[in-house]
């Protein structure tokens, strides 16, 4: 499988770059970020509010397998259809604070497009923590599996 999604995270910087090329026309890619019903489908989240316009705000809520609800919210600073969205992102009840996201949408040809997400965190330490989260969760899951197997014997 080709690695379509790329992460650039230089040491000692409080930002990262996520890039991805899509087999989708630019308009369809952009639409995936604008319409609540579509966002719900691919993000696997409930969209409580999504005002896709300058000075609009957004609010999502996910439910984990244990039934706990997790909220996310932010405001939209810049909204240019088929071109860019500048917004903030904040996880409720998390120690990470707000992050600033610059989303740029680019047409490659009639059927393909590219998304560049430039994310800026409050500090290098926070960026590194967020990068490590899925890794830590992976370790945790592996650990739980080992415990399950051991407790069966």
């Amino acid at each position: 499988m080709e690695r379509k999604t790329k992460i650039q995270a230089e040491d000692g910087k409080q930002e990262l770059l996520i890039t991805r090329e899509f087999d989708l026309p630019l308009e369809l890619l952009f639409k995936a970020y604008v319409e609540s019903g579509i966002v719900e489908q691919w993000m696997g989240t409930k969209v409580l509010k999504l005002e896709s316009k300058k000075h609009g705000s957004w609010q999502f809520e996910t439910t984990d397998p244990k039934g706990n609800k997790h909220g996310f919210n932010g405001t939209i600073h810049e909204f240019v259809p088929n071109e860019k969205i500048t917004r903030t992102f904040e996880m409720d009840n998390a120690p990470f604070g707000v992050q600033l996201e610059f989303l740029e949408f680019e047409k490659l040809d009639a059927d393909t497009s590219k998304l560049t997400m430039h994310v800026v965190y409050r500090s290098v330490a926070i960026r590194d923590q967020i990068l490590q989260l899925p890794f830590a969760q992976g370790i945790n899951m592996a650990h739980n599996r080992i415990q399950e197997i051991l407790s069966q014997n």
């Binding site: 999604t5 992460i7 899509f22 989708l24 490590q132 989260l133 370790i139």
Partner: protein
């Protein structure tokens, strides 16, 4: 080569992985780490020593106490710790692509 093998042996142990998980989000003192385990304190100290020796953990003098935090650079080297983060976004974007392809044909 020897060091790398030691690093993989270090993360092969479930208690040591659990320690890495604990300090992934914040640096912690040996006492705070030990309080998360039923294992005897010297056993936890031994695990901390192994993790520090192979540079997965870094020590930091904090007044009278020593606290430990994850050495992100080393983790990247041995386990490519960014890969799960990349995978998470890749899965998410794959879903987006699939949803929008469906949307197009409708």
């Amino acid at each position: 080569m020897n060091l790398r093998r030691d690093v993989f042996q270090a993360i092969a142990d479930p208690t040591r992985r659990a320690i890495l998980l604990l300090v992934a989000s914040q640096s912690m003192t040996a006492g705070a780490i030990a309080s998360n385990f039923d294992t005897a304190r010297p056993t936890v100290s031994k695990h901390l020593q192994i993790l520090t020796e192979c540079e997965l953990l870094e020590q930091e003098q904090n007044g009278r106490e020593i606290s430990y935090h994850l050495n992100a650079k080393k983790m990247k080297e041995v386990a490519d710790f960014i890969e799960p983060f990349r995978k998470m976004w890749d899965d998410r974007f794959n879903k987006l692509e699939a949803v929008m392809k469906q949307h197009k044909t409708r």
